[in-house]
Symmetry: C2
DNA sequence: GCGACAAATCTTGCATACAAGACGAGTAAG
DNA sequence: CTTACTCGTCTTGTATGCAAGATTTGTCGC
């Protein structure tokens, strides 16, 4: 859940370590996942790493470019829209099939909202990203359907990658309020309304994306050098050297 | 789509060959998938077969029993209910987000219904199973969401496995009529009603299952010997030898 | 200075080899 | 006749080795 080091993770923990890192926004989209490096990190042979990659590939988490390497997926604008679409369908469908909120469910959701609030107050953006994704997974867990939980977890991972690529600025408070409204509707037992609010919420988040932004191939290098993020001006003058 | 022989399938076609075989009910749940046999059949090394298995495992299609082998999943009664639940959520959510049926969509769906009718008339049960599953995938395709199509395809595969395990008798005509009603609602543009009908339809199919039936470990041998299917009586007297 | 070319290096793709464990047949003892 | 045990065979688990291709770096010619 929190910080799982390579060593303590069990046999097939490579998958979950990577997914978990994505869910907590510690791996950027497009990150190269070298078989050799992962093999040394987890102290296994390349074979096991490859098997983990195959599973992650089937889950839509990583990509392989033949003879070039494995990469964390970089969803295109189209794919991003598809992901949000799928989430709207599933989450709204989920809420609409629920008919009551158990007492423990109420407790869990409110505890989660409190955590979100705390993270906002602390300004812990990484933790916030993680929590914002987890909220939707919590709802699926409440519904008790393990299959949908898994599906939503993977979709959430992709969502986080998308937001790292296209999110211009993150309105944490707005998202948090969206979650609060959904929970409020659930507490009132008005699940169709909760479903509508969830759709609206996902719409809002999607609208907050700048899907016209081209992925910046220099992003990681830029970040390593502590340079400011890409702008229209910087991308056009990036080709020639700066003149003093 | 139809019969794809191992040879003509591309590099990673092992996955799709197996899924396709499940979708057309040519592989039973619990079937052992020997790495060596598959390697020989597809004329590749065990490595590639294993990689395919890893992907299928991530998709919930196969299971591995350590050091014993790979098996096509045998969903338990609980898992079966979970699968149907997930399908209700996704398919109802899908239909509810649609707002119009294009002309080509109408054509596709009606062509599909005609195929179902023909298969019923011909009594081609295997083809019918395939078509019954495909119907729901068609709808997802109409919505144009590739992610949901993939998810529904895998869920449909599991559904077919479930029906092979638990379906006492298959009311093809009833299912076909259910599909017709859904399409009718869609043609009228009443998608909430189509969603409700889809839920109802899946309920019907699920009700048609006998989820109390224990999976029969002798099923494949029984079938090979052309013995009648399992009954309560036969299962209780199976343990001791028959005395003349 | 600049562009093209070539070799070196690093990557994955795939097959094979060996080890560990499970299963079943056969056997011996009771 | 039944039961327990052991050995042989077959399965997957994992590592390693080699080949093919892509990228990058270094060099040469202009």
């Amino acid at each position: 859940m929190q910080d799982l080091s390579p060593q303590q993770t069990a046999q097939n923990g490579i998958d979950e370590a990577i997914v978990s890192s994505i869910l907590s926004a510690r791996i950027r989209p497009g990150t190269r996942l070298s078989e050799n490096q992962l093999a040394t990190l987890f102290d296994v042979s390349r074979t096991r790493v490859r098997e983990a990659m195959m599973r992650l590939e089937a889950r839509g988490i990583v990509n392989v470019s033949p003879r070039r390497g494995w990469f964390v997926v970089e969803p295109s604008a189209d794919e991003a829209m598809t992901v949000y679409d799928a989430r709207r369908v599933i989450e709204a469908g989920l809420l609409r099939t629920m008919d009551r909120l158990t007492e423990t469910g109420r407790t869990i959701l409110n505890a989660h909202l409190a955590e979100e609030k705390a993270a906002i107050a602390a300004g812990d953006r990484q933790r916030l990203t993680c929590l914002m994704g987890d909220f939707h997974i919590r709802i699926a867990e409440l519904a008790g359907n393990a299959i949908l939980v898994d599906i939503l977890r993977d979709l959430t991972a992709r969502t986080i990658l998308i937001s790292m690529l296209y999110q211009s600025d993150f309105h944490a408070m707005q998202s948090h309020l969206g979650h609060c409204h959904i929970v409020a509707a659930m507490e009132l037992g008005d699940f169709p309304k909760a479903a509508a609010l969830a759709v609206e919420h996902l719409d809002e988040v999607e609208t907050g994306l700048d899907l016209t932004r081209r992925p910046d191939p220099l992003a990681d290098l830029r970040r390593s050098l502590s340079l400011p993020p890409q702008t229209a001006a910087s991308s056009s003058q990036a080709s020639r050297k700066a003149k003093p």
